[in-house]
């Protein structure tokens, strides 16, 4: 067995990596950072864990010199629509609806086993004392097959149409004399100024922590009724209770991320009525069950081949595949800017572990940056749940 070659290689690696190594501390967490205080030691589903990559992987790339970065903001949903479930009997007799602008789009989707397709010629609309029948009052109607051909997957038997300007707005009666099953009636008013806005106060909700849901009708109109719920990927629901705070209606949620943990996002549904108009809004939020966090220490080495390695220490409570990612900042002339991105992931077992963030020599050379460096937007992700475990915007100065 030739032992000389491995020895030489080992020596070369030691020499290459020994340059400039030193211990570092991460910047203290800021108020806007995701910073879990307690870790959960129960692992996520074994089935999910079995699908994760087993090999450690590192990757870095150059960012453009004009790269602009900003902190992620929670999505603000705006709704001009509502849904209501109508029985076959009620729809046969005529369902009263109120619209706030001409040109409402109405979709009728049968519910349950009886999937009778509605015919636009059977739809009757009564508005302003006038009845529109046999397709009058409707335009742009499309059946399920036409909608499917357009790439949408509405339920079998769906009919969609738009009300003509003649129908106008206000109180209307929608009638389907031969309705054979209950229907989901979806009313979307693209031209309406009655808007329900909805957003969470953060992108990620941490298990055991609190977050706010903020709803607003127009610029702060008073609602006749408002309610909603948070739903998990597995269908668990938590009711939301809203209180008026300034122009908003606010619901506080203490987040139990373990009850309903699954693949995908959690959803926030809100239903409100104001000015005689109904609106349903929905948005999404990431649920993070923290199973690992930064210890606050790191190790830094610039190797002689020109690559830059930062070993980030991580405390792990439950095994998973964890990833650390960060943006390299450095000097470009007199300016300091972002120049490269790196990611490193590996399966980590419970205990004190570390992940090596490596900006390879080619990336360093092409980044156009020079020392002093810092790694910002340092983020720890559980690749099992795809949720951020911890983030430090200020990262670490090298």
């Amino acid at each position: 067995m030739n032992t000389i070659r491995p020895l030489v290689l080992t020596l070369a690696l030691v020499l290459a990596s020994s340059a400039e190594a030193r211990e570092l501390s991460l910047a203290a967490p800021a108020a806007t950072d995701l910073n879990p205080t307690q870790l959960v030691s129960s692992p996520a589903s074994a089935e999910k864990a079995s699908r994760l990559e087993s090999a450690p992987v590192q990757f870095s790339w150059v960012l453009p010199a004009d790269q602009a970065l900003s902190a992620p903001l929670p999505h603000r949903a705006e709704s001009r629509e509502f849904w209501t479930r109508v029985s076959a009997q009620e729809l046969s007799a005529g369902k009263a609806l109120t619209t706030s602008a001409p040109g409402a789009l109405i979709r009728l989707s049968p519910i349950g086993q009886a999937k009778g397709a509605a015919d636009p010629l059977q739809v009757e609309i009564t508005a302003g004392g006038k009845t529109f029948a046999r397709g009058e009052g409707l335009k742009n109607s499309a059946n399920e097959a036409e909608l499917k051909a357009a790439g949408t997957s509405f339920p079998s038997g769906t009919l969609a149409f738009q009300l003509t300007d003649e129908v106008g707005q206000g109180d209307i009666t929608l009638r389907l004399p031969k309705a054979a099953s209950d229907y989901l009636v979806h009313v979307f008013e693209p031209n309406s100024k009655e808007i329900l806005s909805l957003q969470a106060d953060r992108v990620t909700a941490v298990h055991g922590g609190e977050f706010k849901v903020l709803a607003r009708f127009n610029a702060g109109d008073t609602t006749q009724a408002i309610g909603g719920f948070l739903s998990s990927p597995t269908g668990e629901q938590v009711e939301l209770t809203f209180d008026r705070q300034g122009d908003d209606y606010v619901a506080m949620v203490r987040h139990d991320g373990l009850n309903g943990e699954g693949e995908g996002l959690w959803e926030i549904h809100t239903f409100a009525s104001a000015n005689g108009i109904q609106r349903d809004a929905k948005t999404a939020i990431v649920s993070s069950v923290p199973r690992a966090r930064f210890t606050g220490t790191a190790d830094h080495a610039k190797t002689r081949d020109g690559s830059l390695r930062i070993s980030i220490d991580v405390s792990v409570a439950a095994a998973s595949r964890f990833e650390v990612r960060g943006v390299l900042f450095g000097r470009d002339g007199k300016a300091v800017r972002a120049g490269a991105m790196a990611s490193s992931a590996a399966i980590l077992k419970p205990g004190q572990q570390s992940l090596d963030l490596v900006f390879d020599a080619d990336t360093m050379a092409k980044s156009g940056l020079s020392a002093p460096y810092s790694v910002r937007d340092l983020t720890l992700v559980d690749q099992g749940s795809l949720a951020v475990q911890e983030s430090r915007a200020a990262g670490v100065d090298l």
Partner: protein
Amino acid sequence: MNKFLIGLALSLGCVAASANTGIAFVHGTGKQTNALDDYWTRENVDSIRQGMPNTANYVIINCDFTQYMWNSAAAGCLAGQLSSFIQAKGITDLVIQTHSNGGNVMRWIMSNPTYDSRYPGIISKIRWVNALAPSSAGTPLANAVMNGNVFEQSLGWLVGYKSDAVRMQQTSWMATYNANNLYGTAGRPALPKSFYSVVGTDVDSAIWDPDSYCGGYFENVGLETTQNWLNSCSDGFLECTSQAAAGRVWFYDTSRMAGSEPLSHNQSRRKCFGLDVILRNDL
């Protein structure tokens, strides 16, 4: 630097390095088993691949894109087929052409290079991604499909009534994934390789207009209706803002298509109005 200059620099470099160029066609939402005939059409693919020195260096991806983008049947399947293609053909310069949700699956791979040990090898071979009508910011149509389900959602979700890909392409979901798990949108780090979008801006479905028949008249009629759920600039399935949300806009349809025709969502994956020639010349 614009795409032309990058292409010029790359082509000069490629000549020196004897690059072996290949193209991969990545379909959108759906489970495909014959995307060549059922999704892209053979005449379209055959036209586009004429732009390569070796016209046999192409692969048509067939994966299950009804799943979440990161799923092994979606990005995992895509990574497997791309890796096999790169290896089998010795590809060193890969142009990826995606349509619709295929852009999201590709963007998942480029945004999460350490999620799968095959990803870095694929990314390193990519010249750029041409994303035809990508659903980068989702679509209100996915909201409409999913939202009604709130009344029977527990049942619907448990029995898989709607595909995860549709769920994922709701606007609130894509906004959250763009903020958290994907790169290339405003304020987020750039992707490791360029992502150029082609944006469709309108749908023509007039029965007397022969342009309405390219890509299928029936499909375009449906898109004319679904367009009403969207704002004034859309390809019938996606708003222009969604198509332009990630990477850089290569061009808006009417600026480059023959007769300044718009590309509906079905037409942007077909041989319509000279799009195939533009894509061919891009190779």
